[in-house]
């Protein structure tokens, strides 16, 4: 337990120093999506699943957005550029947008 505090400190400092700003923006978005999904799930546990399609639509929207954002983060990370030589960050962002539009279409279709 003594080493845990310094380890976390080192992790946060290196994250703040070494991570590019674009990835930090995506990380902020990921945290936001994660919290949205968690709060919806807590509401479902507390209040029940009555408008079940609405809950499923909302929760699926957060899960899908999280997955898409995580993929965007992987593809735009400079350290991974060797794996995605043909995919520029802009191409990744275009994929992200197209997939999000499709996801939103399905979610809206499902919401009733």
């Amino acid at each position: 337990m003594n080493t845990l505090g310094p380890a976390i400190q080192k992790l946060t400092s290196s994250y703040a120093k070494d991570t590019p700003t674009t990835l930090k923006i995506i990380d902020g978005y990921l945290i936001y999506i994660l919290l949205s999904g968690i709060t919806q799930f807590v509401y479902m546990v507390l209040a029940g699943t009555y408008p079940y399609n609405a809950f499923l639509a909302g929760f699926a929207a957060t899960v899908g957005s999280f997955v898409l954002a995580a993929n965007l983060r992987i593809q735009t990370n400079i350290k991974n550029s060797a794996d995605f030589k043909t995919i520029s960050p802009e191409r990744a962002f275009a994929d992200f947008v197209v997939c999000n539009i499709l996801l939103h279409f399905f979610v809206v279709n499902f919401i009733g």
Binding site: T21, K24, I25, D27, G28, Y29, I31, Y32, I33, L35, S36, T39, Q40, V42, Y43, L46, A47, G48, Y50, G58, S88, P89, E90, R91, F93, A94, V97, I101, H104, F105, V108, N109, I111
Partner: protein, 320 residues
Amino acid sequence: MKLIHTPLKQAKVERRALPTSPPTMAPQPSILLTLTLLLALLTTAVLAKSSFAISDVKFAVVGSDGVRRGGESLEFPGKLASKYSVQGSDTVRLTFQVKDAETDKSVQPHQAFLILTNDETGVQSVQILQVRDSGKARAELSPKTADENLVGPYTLEVVLGTFSLPDPLKYALGSINIESTFDLSKSAESATTAAVIYGPRPEIRHIFRQPDKVPAAWLSNAFVLVVLSPWLVLLGAWLALGITPAILGPFVSSISILAFFSTLVATEFLFYKYWTSLNIFETLTYFAGLSVFTFVTGQRALSEVQARRLKNEGKYAKKE
């Protein structure tokens, strides 16, 4: 003797059996004696009376599980010692040997019946006795073969008759008591259907599905705020990273990026209209047109962004 018509099936069997002469049985010592006596009588009286002789009469009541529940062996004119009681599921089995009393040869009579007469109502039920070439007769009364509702006290009689022997035979076996019908379910059904009651039936009340429990309004309202609260987290995080409106200035000023952004907003607005008013065909029609604009503007915008990024990278490369 009662006039009973031979059923077609039985008649066919008889016709087939007619040409064949009954096989001779090996004469037994005691019968040999009577035979010689009869032969002696024949010499004196040319026209002797010939009639049936019955032997080896066996009567049995067998339960539905195949266990023998009662029965006895009889000598021809003798009757059943006791009045057997028969359950509805039981099988009554009667077997005996038919012979010509004079020649002691086996006979296959043309007509052979077991007649059950109800002692109370007088109603008769006729069962066919199956007789083989060897003169072995057999009758079975079971739930499968009985086609009538047999219940109550019955007197059993065997009736035999054929062309070759002038005297028919009527043999009163005794009586049995059938305690319940052979087909209980059928009789019960007919009893209920017989009594049709005309009148108003009980009212049929439709119970609709109960509406789902709607959660309390305060809880839902509170959670609307809770679910929206991560927006503050997002804004806080992005502002902390230095993404202020000021830094977005060059992007906002670019027409292609603005156009791309507005087409995206239009797409989301279309989805909103789909949720509220449009149906899926209208939505897909609009979406097909809009997606072309989105593609064009997106390509322009992203290539501009890429160009700017490459320029910046070049700048950084020069500096380093």
